[in-house]
């Protein structure tokens, strides 16, 4: 049954060229069906898991021996996020001016990216994770360069060459660990890591380098702003919303939990790099003039937050990290949706040319306010809860200084987001922009969905907490072994 997560999008992509000939409209509806299918299935599993056995303690609920797949609390949250963000991306790209006869190819690549992500989430051994990681990465390189424009090419090339280096080092590390443990699945790797010794440290250094680069953490983040700004609007939603997080952050969480465990040397490293990314990301974002580029740096900062949550090393920290992972996927894709809407309506993303769009584009305006406030961590919204949990976890884990850093960074986050809101949506409308109208419903409906999710998961946080997130720390049981 878990295989369906991989096969359905794969088949969806495979039949695209055939569909183009026999049922032209089908090319639009298939991706929607696939993504909706994923949301429903994941929702149903979560519902069943919750209702049946109290809370979702999917220890190792579904284990497919042959293909070594596995679904548990963490991957369920990831799958839900993948489903939602890809659904929203497809909805947004229905109206987006893509070159018509290449549209089936475009949808195929998006579905392949979804396949890659799903595979990566359910895989239980590092090598097949690498393979699916490559599927997602290559698909996203192509999607970035989809528009044939100079920026797209440049952004894609930089992202490609940097992640190539990352995968090389990842594979070398896999080889080293394989040499010691004789196997590549998490269980065997964990055994190998327990023996300790310099080789384990070197392989963790390589893996940390690869995953930090893939998730865009500070010193390794060079590609991220260029890739996000250069890519076409719907692709940037997918990319910023979920690809980077699954490729980088999810893998890191999975490896830390299953293979390397919370040993203090790794955790301190993760904490420092996380803190650096959070603060510098926020500072860089403060000075930006381009809507998407500011959001890109804000992503770096938020991913730094998730890493700090993980690095706290306590179950609470993990819960905070996973919840912020989910929240960030939601409100970051919401913000990129808004930037896409602004771009389609006004044709530009530069703050100096934008201003006072709120009354002309009410829906985009309000949803972007919700997104911004959630990112900055304003109480009723979901972002607040996850940041709060992370800060509390850091504080309780004894990293008081880093807790202050986290609070300081979120203040700067609020500053640059308000700056953004003021430049783009409030204030008086710029002369050239009187004529613009709100984007079409198909475009702003996804924004409303995402905003609703942020608001409700914020308000219903207690319910979300003990039903969806508590099982996540059942993973820590794994660690105890």
């Amino acid at each position: 049954m878990l295989l369906a997560y991989i096969l359905v999008p794969l088949l969806g992509a495979a039949i695209m060229p055939i569909l183009r000939k026999i049922w032209q409209k089908g090319t639009d509806s298939v991706p929607i069906l696939v993504t909706v299918y994923q949301i429903i299935i994941t929702g149903w599993i979560a519902y069943q898991g919750i209702v049946l056995n109290g809370s979702l303690n999917l220890e190792r609920w579904i284990l497919d021996q042959v293909l070594a797949l596995r679904l548990d609390g963490l991957s369920l949250v990831a799958l839900l996020a993948i489903g939602l963000v890809s659904f929203v991306t497809v909805l947004f790209s229905l109206r987006y001016p893509l070159d018509e006869d290449r549209r089936p190819g475009y949808y195929a690549l998006i579905l392949l990216a979804v396949t890659g992500m799903n595979g990566l989430v359910v895989a239980t051994d590092l090598f097949s994770m690498y393979v699916f990681l490559e599927i997602v990465s290559v698909a996203s390189f192509i999607l970035i360069a989809y528009q044939y424009d100079e920026f797209g090419m440049e952004g894609s090339f930089k992202y490609m060459m940097l992640s190539a280096v990352a995968t090389v080092f990842l594979l070398v590390a896999v080889a080293l660990l394989f040499a010691i443990t004789g196997g590549v699945s998490f269980g065997e790797l964990a055994q190998g890591v327990k023996t300790g010794g310099p080789v384990v440290f070197i392989s963790f250094a390589f893996i940390f380098f690869a995953l930090a680069l893939k998730s865009g953490m500070m010193p390794f983040h060079g590609w991220l702003p260029d890739a996000y700004t250069a890519s076409p609007a719907p692709v940037s939603i997918l990319l910023a919303g979920i690809v980077t997080k699954i490729a980088g952050v999810y893998t890191m969480i999975r490896l830390v939990l299953e293979v390397f465990g919370f040993n203090s040397v790794f955790m301190n490293l993760l904490l420092v790099v996380g803190a650096v990314s959070t603060v510098l990301g926020a500072f860089f974002a403060l000075g930006q003039k381009d809507f998407k580029r500011m959001l890109a740096y804000s992503s770096i900062s938020q991913i730094g937050y998730i890493m700090m949550g993980l690095a706290a090393g306590t179950p609470l920290g993990l819960i905070g990290a996973v919840f912020h992972f989910f929240n960030h996927a939601i409100f970051k894709s919401l913000l990129f949706l808004n930037s896409g809407a602004v771009e389609t309506a006004t044709g530009t993303r530069n703050f100096d040319e934008l201003g006072g769009l709120a009354e002309k584009m009410p829906v985009t305006g309000t949803t972007s306010v919700i997104g911004l406030l959630s990112t900055a961590g304003i109480p009723p919204l979901a972002g607040f809860w996850s940041k709060l949990v992370i800060i509390v976890a850091l504080w309780m884990a004894g990293f008081k200084f880093f807790a202050f850093i986290a609070v300081f960074a979120s203040i700067i986050t609020l500053a640059y987001l308000l700056l953004l809101q003021r430049n783009v949506f409030f204030g008086k409308i710029k002369q050239g922009l009187e004529g613009i109208r709100e984007v079409s419903p198909v475009v702003y409906w996804p924004a409303i969905i995402m905003a609703a999710i942020t608001v409700f998961s914020g308000i219903l946080f207690p319910l979300v907490y003990d039903k969806l997130l508590n099982p996540v720390n059942s993973l820590l049981g794994l660690l105890a072994k």
Binding site: A13, T115, I135, V138
Partner: protein
């Protein structure tokens, strides 16, 4: 053991250095080709025949062809292959062989430290390549199908606009 060393250094490392070092792209591609053939020999020496064959056919063959294709496509434009540019290239790359030699010597000298760094306790396994591939690595197959599809769609999407009207 010595054969392995000879093969390793003479046939793979040195061509790779030349591949990086060579000024003209064609020379570096050919050097790369030689290097990958050398690698195949090393793999055979490690009695991993299937990997060697694969490396030979795909690594050496397909990739070399692709490179030559792309170099030839771009060559007519970059006519001003002036001596000055070549000199500039060497100025940048002359330091590479020195570093690699130096690094290789250091690593080789204190290799004993690393000897016991790889404690392996697992049992030997004599399963054949087929059993392992089909039996335990089924997921990789699906992964490969996926990646191939991505490659296919990628090329289609990137080159459909072949006419490149602008």
């Amino acid at each position: 053991m010595e054969l392995h060393m000879v093969l390793l250094i003479a046939v793979t490392l040195i061509p790779m250095i030349i591949a990086a070092f060579a000024a003209e792209l064609i020379k570096s591609v050919i050097a790369l080709l030689v290097g990958s053939v050398g690698l195949t020999l090393v793999l055979f020496n490690l009695n991993a025949p299937i990997a060697g064959i694969f490396e030979l056919s795909v690594g050496a063959g397909l990739i070399a062809v692709l490179f030559i294709l792309s170099v030839s496509l771009t060559r007519p434009l970059a006519k001003e292959e002036s001596a000055e540019r070549k000199r500039q290239h060497y100025r940048r790359f002359y330091v590479l062989p020195i570093i690699i030699l130096f690094l290789g010597l250091i690593l080789y000298l204190n290799k004993d430290f690393w000897i016991n760094a790889f404690p392996f306790t697992g049992a030997q396994e004599s399963a054949s390549f087929g059993e392992v591939l089909w039996g335990r690595r089924g997921l990789d197959l699906i992964g490969q199908i996926g990646i191939i599809l991505v490659g296919v769609f990628g090329v289609i999407v990137l080159f459909r606009r072949g006419k490149m009207n602008e």
